[in-house]
């Protein structure tokens, strides 16, 4: 009987491992992510140039695709517009499963912050900047709670608390420095490196 139970547990574990491995490999090089598993580089869609649009149109978009350049991978993520800027959240940041699930947020916070957002089929080159304090948090939390949960004062307060205690991280999808100042993209990389050393 014990042998049978162990064999059944083995099959359950096998099915779980096969599922995760298969889906992870299947989407690894895809043009965009699946619901849960990261995809590869976002290659299709017009690359936006010029001034930022009026981001309020993202109020009608539940999720966008966000690609990080290092390492190259993409995922689906919520988006909030607040004060004319756009933000993405990363939740569950203090749990073990969350750390495995949201490893991209740790990479972005550690400096691998160059990103591409594909919204309505258009790709926007952006830089991820973590926002952890300031008045802007209130507006972002209100939008996050209104858009993705009940939007009640309790939900807003819970969202603000979650951001303040570090369980939810917020990143601004800011324009890349080279987009703000085209001269930066023409700098000699060695020249820039020597300034840092």
């Amino acid at each position: 009987m014990l042998r049978f139970i162990v064999q059944v547990i083995g099959i359950v574990v096998l099915v779980g491992a096969v599922t995760i491995t298969t889906l992870k490999i299947d989407y690894m090089d895809a043009d965009g992510p699946s619901i849960l598993f990261p995809g590869g580089e976002l290659v299709t869609g017009e690359l936006h140039s010029g001034p930022d649009p009026d981001w309020t149109f993202t109020d009608d978009i539940p999720v966008i695709e966000l690609q990080l350049d290092g390492p190259m991978s993409s995922r689906r993520i919520f988006i909030m517009e607040s004060g004319g800027k756009i933000y993405v959240p990363s939740g569950y940041m203090q749990s073990f499963l969350g750390r495995l699930w949201k490893d991209w947020a740790f990479q972005a916070a550690e400096g691998d912050d160059m990103a591409v957002a594909r919204i309505n089929g258009i790709r926007y080159e952006r830089q991820l900047i973590r926002i952890s304090e300031g008045e802007v948090i209130n507006g972002i939390a209100q939008k996050l709670a209104k858009k993705y949960s009940a939007g009640t004062p309790e939900a807003v307060a819970g969202t603000i608390k979650s951001i303040n205690n570090g369980d939810t991280w917020i990143f601004e999808l800011a324009p890349r420095p080279s987009i703000l100042d085209p001269r930066l993209s023409t700098l000699d990389p060695q020249e820039g490196a020597s300034d840092e050393n």
Partner: protein
């Protein structure tokens, strides 16, 4: 079940299940919805 038969069963399950996930998008979508529901519940 003898070990040999058990290993054959595991191999068959692996091949059929991985092929199903790749070839039938509705199955993989459903599995992912279940997994994201699990994570949303327990990753707190």
């Amino acid at each position: 079940m003898k070990t040999k038969n058990y290993l054959i069963l595991c191999a068959v399950i692996t091949v059929i299940w991985s092929a199903t996930l790749i070839l039938v998008p509705a199955v993989s979508d459903t599995v992912e919805q279940i997994m994201i529901g699990f994570l949303s519940t327990y990753a707190r």
